[in-house]
Amino acid sequence: GAGVSQSPRYKVAKRGQDVALRCDPISGHVSLFWYQQALGQGPEFLTYFQNEAQLDKSGLPSDRFFAERPEGSVSTLKIQRTQQEDSAVYLCASSSSAGRGTEAFFGQGTRLTVV
């Protein structure tokens, strides 16, 4: 596709349920990032992949959050035992390299609501 695609666009989960959020980056993009955006706030970094390697996961808020990118393209962000504080928009971004000045492209996000 022409841009970063995320699915589902909206997800409602009951507290305690596991969820999986998918990101299809722009074809050929090496770098992939996940961000979490709470209502009224700016996006906050969660984790970063270069190809299939997860180089930085310092932003993951707890061990309930797990991300993978096994073949260096599609990525999945998994949240286990969801809590109400996990309610947010989860944004995925990709870029063609990690070099200076390379533009990052964001998807539309997945809005997760935990009830």
Partner: protein
């Protein structure tokens, strides 16, 4: 990453020039200044990036004084479709999404 300060919100009429100033007093020598735009229910979109002086593209201009402790995003003749949140980011390689620190941004409202 350098901390940034920008106005929480701004209002403008259609057709006016809008200038959004961002303060970044502790910017490092190797830091770039990047602005992103975010519409409701969309992901952020890269607008412009600069290191010093002035940068202009088809969307906006970015003015950076010599001391680089602030920067100003200039949007010429805004339209209703420019209503969005604008984020100022400072850090190395901020053209990418690497650990970008967005802050709360400036909410620009354009009206007729």
């Amino acid at each position: 990453l350098a901390k940034t300060t920008q106005p929480i919100s701004m209002d403008s009429y259609e057709g006016q020039e809008v200038n959004i100033t961002c303060s970044h007093n502790n910017i490092a020598t190797n830091d770039y200044i990047t602005w992103y735009q975010q519409f409701p229910s969309q992901g952020p979109r890269f607008i412009i990036q600069g290191y010093k002086t002035k940068v202009t593209n088809e969307v906006a201009s970015l003015f950076i004084p010599a001391d680089r402790k602030s920067s100003t995003l200039s949007l010429p003749r805004v339209s209703l479709s420019d209503t969005a949140v604008y984020y100022c980011l400072v850090g190395p390689d901020t053209g990418t999404a690497s650990k970008l620190t967005f802050g709360t941004g400036t909410r620009l409202q354009v009206t007729l």
